[in-house]
Amino acid sequence: MLKEAGFVDIEIGTAIDTFGGARGEKNARVFDVYGYPFLAVKPE
């Protein structure tokens, strides 16, 4: 999606178990949902 939007040099960081132990954990596990940091650059 980022590439399609015109960004370059895209990096994706390590997954974080954002919902572990929270009330939303059950739904998160169903779809294997994790949090991620993203970095992307607008071309010069």
């Binding site: 999606m1 949090g35 940091p37």
Partner: protein, 201 residues
């Protein structure tokens, strides 16, 4: 199509607003996500930095990862935070860019804006401001930002194509998008995507 809008944007926006109004006014309430200082620690934020903020700066934080973990901001940079909520990521950004930089938080929830502005005043952060607006139509001039950050917000918006187009508009050439968000490892059935309650619960 990858960017297809599958839910009603206005209905989703109202549900999100209601959820985050509750988080602003009652940060110790029951939510389906973690909040506040425990969440900031879980996501790997610098604990000494978080500890230096008053509770009011952190208690309504509800991010999903750390947008500063892949790269820190540089002194003097101009930053826009999409969906700034109670302002926690703006306050982190403000410390990184220093007084020669500038941070603008944009949020649609009045209660969050009031809270964030109060904390910025309490911390005497004169280079941080909060503007009311939608991230699909940012109240930011073309090419103003060196960096756009966001945390756990883009996934809550129906029209992601429009948001990324807006980010491209406000970034200067060579500017960076540093955001945190959730992603699913298993495909979500179309019926579930169209169930608007699943977006906010």
């Amino acid at each position: 199509m990858a960017f297809e809008v599958m839910v009603d944007a206005d209905t989703l926006r109202e549900q999100v607003k209601e959820k985050y109004r509750e988080l602003a006014e009652n940060p110790r309430g029951r939510f389906h996500f973690h909040t506040g200082r425990p969440l900031a620690a879980r996501l790997g934020y610098d604990e000494s930095l978080t500890a230096s903020f008053p509770d009011s700066a952190v208690e309504s934080f509800a991010g999903v990862a750390n947008p500063f973990s892949l790269r820190s901001l540089s002194e003097g940079e101009r930053v826009v935070d999409l969906g700034s909520g109670g302002g926690f990521d703006c306050f982190v950004a403000a410390r990184q860019v220093g007084p020669r930089g500038h941070v603008v938080g944009v949020d649609m929830t009045q209660e969050m804006l009031v809270k964030a502005r109060g904390v910025a005043a309490e911390l005497s952060l004169n280079h941080v401001e909060f503007r009311e607006g939608l991230i699909e139509d940012l109240p930011i001039e073309d090419g103003w930002a060196d960096v756009v950050v966001s945390n756990g917000v883009i996934n809550l918006c129906a029209d992601k194509r429009r948001i990324f187009s807006e980010i491209q508009r406000v970034l200067r050439p060579g500017g960076r998008l540093q955001f945190a968000d959730i992603a699913n490892g298993k495909p979500v059935p179309e019926a579930a995507i169209r169930d608007i309650n699943l977006w906010t619960d």
